[in-house]
C-alpha cells in the first residue's frame, strides 16, 4: 500500500461532508493512537522531535523540542491545549482542517496527549467559527462513543478527556499565555515568561499549547514514521504544510504542498497568478504581522530561514497579494487599524503607539499628512520592536509598517504632496 503524500488533506473533498468516526477509521484513521500507546512517552516526544516538525502557528519552533520541556508527571493534572483561535489576517487554513476533517485533529490531540501524559485536553476555538464548532462537537462525541476518549482509551491504562472552548473574538488569544488566561476565564492579557507554560501553564500546571495544523501532522508522523515524513518535503525540508493565497489572483485558496515549495509555485501554479489587468506590487508572506516582500522574492522557498534572510517571516505561509491598483498606504493603514483594535492594552507601545500610528496613516491616506508624520511612524516602529513590548503583538504590527515604509516610501511622500491617487475603496 502506498502511503499518502497529502496527510493533512487526504480526507478532504470539495462538496462532500466530513468523515464521521467510522468513515475516518475505515480510511486508515486512528492508527496512531494504538501505536502511541505502545511507546514510552519520552520516546514518542523524541520521534516527533526527530521528524523536524515545526509549529504551524507562525513561530515555527520544533514541536517535539517544545514538548520535551514538560516535566515528568507528578500525579497532578497536565493539559494539552490546541490553539484554534485563527485570527491572523489573511489566514484560513485551520478552518479548512477543522470543518472538513475534524477527526484528524482529534486523533492528533489524543496521540500528542499520550506523549505528554496529559490528563485533559481543550480546543480553544474562535467564536466566529460556527461550522468548525459543529463539526468538532460531533466528532468529539463520536470519539467518546467509540472509546477513543474517556476512561481507559482502547483498553489501555491511559485516560483522557477533551472539551471544546469557544472564545468570543480577540486576536491576542492566539498568544499562548494570553490564551491560557482566557481559558481560565480571565481577560486575555499575556503572561510574563518564564515560567513557560510547559512548566506552569493552565491553573499553574504543565501545559502544552499547539496550533491546529501542527497537531494534525502528528497522526501521520506516528503512524507512518519519521522517514516517510521527511520524504514529503523538498529543498531540504520535511513534511507538508498548508499554504494559500488571497488578493486579486485568479484562483485564491489554500492547498497542502511539500514544505520548501517556492512562493512562485504557490502563486503561479496553485493560485493561477494575477487576475487580468492587475499586477503584483508586493505580498505579505504569512499573515498581517509579516514584512512585505516584493515580486523579486517569489523564487524563495517557503522556509523560515530563507524568508528571514529576505527580511520577513514565513508566519502562517498564507500569502496576501497587494496589487498595483490598491494603495499601499491604505493597505498598511488597514493592517495597523486591525492591530490597534486588537491590542490587549497591557503595555504602552502597543496600547498607545498603535492608535497613534493608525491616526497618522489615516491622515496620510486622506492627503492631510506631513513629512513629519512619516518620520514619527518610522520612530514608532522602533518603540514597537522586539524587546520593547510585553508580547509579540506590537512587533508583529510593526512589520508591515516598517517594510511598507521601506518599499513604498515614494508613495508615502506622494500622499503628503498630492494625496491618494488610487481608487477610493
Amino acid at each position: 500500500m502506498t502511503l499518502t503524500n497529502k496527510p493533512l488533506t487526504k480526507n478532504i473533498e470539495a462538496g462532500r461532508a466530513a468523515f464521521n468516526f467510522a468513515q475516518y477509521q475505515a480510511a486508515g484513521g486512528y492508527q496512531s493512537v494504538a501505536k502511541a500507546l505502545t511507546y514510552k512517552p519520552r520516546d514518542l516526544m523524541k520521534l516527533v522531535q526527530d521528524s523536524g516538525l515545526g509549529g504551524r502557528g507562525g513561530a515555527g519552533f520544533n514541536t517535539g523540542l517544545k514538548w520535551s520541556f514538560i516535566p515528568e508527571p507528578d500525579g497532578g493534572p497536565r493539559y494539552l491545549v490546541v490553539n484554534a483561535d485563527e485570527m491572523e489576517p489573511g489566514t484560513f487554513k485551520d478552518r479548512l482542517l477543522m470543518e472538513n476533517d475534524p477527526h484528524l485533529l482529534i486523533e492528533g490531540m489524543i496521540t500528542a496527549a499520550i506523549a505528554l501524559q496529559a490528563t485533559m485536553s481543550y480546543i480553544f476555538l474562535r467564536g466566529e467559527y460556527k461550522e468548525a464548532e459543529k463539526a468538532l462537537l460531533k466528532a468529539i462525541k463520536e470519539a467518546y462513543e467509540a472509546g477513543m476518549l474517556g476512561h481507559n482509551i482502547q483498553g489501555s491504562s491511559y485516560s483522557l478527556d477533551m472539551a471544546l472552548h469557544t472564545s468570543a473574538g480577540r486576536y491576542i488569544c492566539g498568544e499562548e499565555t494570553a490564551l491560557i488566561n482566557a481559558l481560565e476565564g480571565k481577560r486575555a492579557n499575556p503572561r510574563f515568561k518564564p515560567p513557560f507554560p510547559q512548566v506552569s501553564g493552565l491553573w499553574g500546571r504543565p501545559t502544552l499549547v499547539n496550533n491546529v495544523e501542527t497537531i494534525c501532522n502528528i497522526p501521520g508522523i506516528v503512524a507512518n514514521g519519521v522517514d516517510w515524513f521527511k520524504g514529503l518535503g523538498i529543498n531540504g525540508q520535511f513534511g507538508t504544510r498548508i499554504s494559500g493565497v488571497s488578493g486579486r489572483v485568479k484562483n485564491p485558496g489554500c492547498w497542502e504542498m511539500p514544505v520548501g515549495t517556492t512562493f512562485r509555485t504557490l502563486f503561479e501554479d496553485y493560485a493561477g497568478g494575477m487576475q487580468d489587468g492587475y499586477q503584483m506590487k508586493a505580498f505579505l508572506p504569512g499573515g498581517g504581522s509579516t514584512d512585505f516582500l516584493l515580486p523579486e522574492h517569489l523564487d524563495l522557498p517557503m522556509i523560515p530561514g530563507d524568508v528571514q534572510k529576505a527580511g520577513s517571516r514565513l508566519g502562517t505561509s498564507l500569502i496576501m497579494v497587494l496589487d498595483d491598483k490598491t494603495c499601499p498606504v491604505g493597505c498598511v493603514h488597514n493592517l495597523i487599524k486591525f492591530f490597534a483594535h486588537e491590542s490587549c492594552g497591557w503595555c504602552t507601545p502597543c496600547r498607545d503607539g498603535l492608535p497613534w500610528a493608525e491616526h497618522m496613516l489615516l491622515k496620510l491616506e486622506k492627503g492631510e499628512g506631513s513629512l513629519q508624520d512619516i518620520e514619527i511612524l518610522k520612530e514608532a516602529c522602533g518603540y514597537m520592536a522586539p524587546g520593547n513590548t510585553f508580547c509579540a503583538l506590537a512587533p508583529g504590527a510593526a512589520e508591515p509598517l516598517q517594510s511598507g515604509l521601506k518599499y513604498f516610501m515614494d508613495e508615502f511622500v506622494e500622499h503628503v504632496n498630492h494625496g491618494c491617487k488610487y481608487h477610493k475603496h
Binding site: 493534572p77 485563527e86 485570527m87 491572523e88 489576517p89 489573511g90 489566514t91 484560513f92 485551520d94 478552518r95 481543550y122 474562535r126 467564536g127 466566529e128 467559527y129 460556527k130 461550522e131 472539551a163 472552548h165 469557544t166 472564545s167 468570543a168 473574538g169 480577540r170 486576536y171 482566557a182 481559558l183 481560565e184 476565564g185 480571565k186 481577560r187 486575555a188 491553573w203 494559500g244 493565497v245 488571497s246 488578493g247 486579486r248 485564491p252 485558496g253 489554500c254 505579505l284 498581517g288 498564507l318 496576501m320 497587494l322 496589487d323 490598491t326 491604505g330 493597505c331 488597514n334 493592517l335 486591525f338 483594535h341 486588537e342 490587549c344 477610493k424 475603496h425
Partner: protein
C-alpha cells in the same frame, strides 16, 4: 443620596432554567467556576440577545465571581454585547483581504440601505451592523456573518438578497 443610588442600581435577575442547564453543562469541563465566565456570558447572550447589567450580575452571582472581574471579561471580548442589538447582527469583515476586495464600498452599501453606521441598530430592531476582524475566509473575500451564518464572495446584489431573507425571517 446613597438611598437613591441603591434604588436605581441594577440588580441581578433570575437566570432561566435553560441558562442554568447550559451553564452547568459547561462547568463539567473545567475544575474552576471562573473558567466558565465567558461561556456563561455567551449562553446568556444566546437566549437574551445581549448581556444586560442584570444578566451580568446574575452570572456573577451564580458562579460566585466578583462582578467587576466578570465585567472586565465581558468588555474585553469583541463578541459579548453589553448593549442591546437587533435581531440580526451583521458582522462585516473589514480586515486586509476583504478591504483589498472592496469591503468599504459594501459597508457604504449596507449603511445607506439600512440607514445605520457601525455600532447602530435599525429603528425596527431588525439589524445591527458591526465590523469584525478577519473572518478567516480570505480566499472568498469579501465576507460577512449574519448570526451564525457566514456569507462569502459578497456583492451589493448578494447583500440585498441576504438582508431581504433575514428580514422575512424576522
Amino acid at each position: 443620596m446613597s438611598n437613591l443610588i441603591a434604588s436605581t442600581a441594577p440588580k441581578a435577575r433570575q437566570l432561566t432554567p435553560e441558562e442554568i442547564h447550559d451553564i452547568e453543562h459547561e462547568k463539567t469541563h473545567y475544575p474552576y467556576a471562573q473558567a466558565v465566565g465567558l461561556e456563561a456570558l455567551k449562553i446568556v447572550q444566546k437566549y437574551q440577545g445581549w448581556v444586560s447589567d442584570e444578566s451580568l450580575l446574575a452570572v456573577a452571582d451564580y458562579l460566585k465571581l466578583p462582578p467587576d472581574e466578570l465585567e472586565g471579561v465581558a468588555t474585553f471580548f469583541n463578541m459579548i454585547f453589553r448593549r442591546p442589538v437587533g435581531k440580526n447582527v451583521i458582522l462585516l469583515c473589514d480586515s486586509v483581504a476583504c478591504w483589498m476586495l472592496g469591503c468599504d464600498s459594501l459597508k457604504s452599501h449596507i449603511s445607506s440601505k439600512l440607514g445605520i453606521d457601525y455600532g447602530q441598530t435599525t429603528a425596527d430592531n431588525q439589524f445591527t451592523l458591526i465590523p469584525v476582524p478577519c473572518l478567516g475566509d480570505c480566499d472568498k473575500a469579501p465576507t460577512m456573518m449574519v448570526g451564525d451564518v457566514t456569507y462569502r464572495n459578497l456583492t451589493p446584489a448578494k447583500i440585498d438578497t441576504i438582508l431581504a431573507e433575514c428580514k422575512a425571517r424576522g
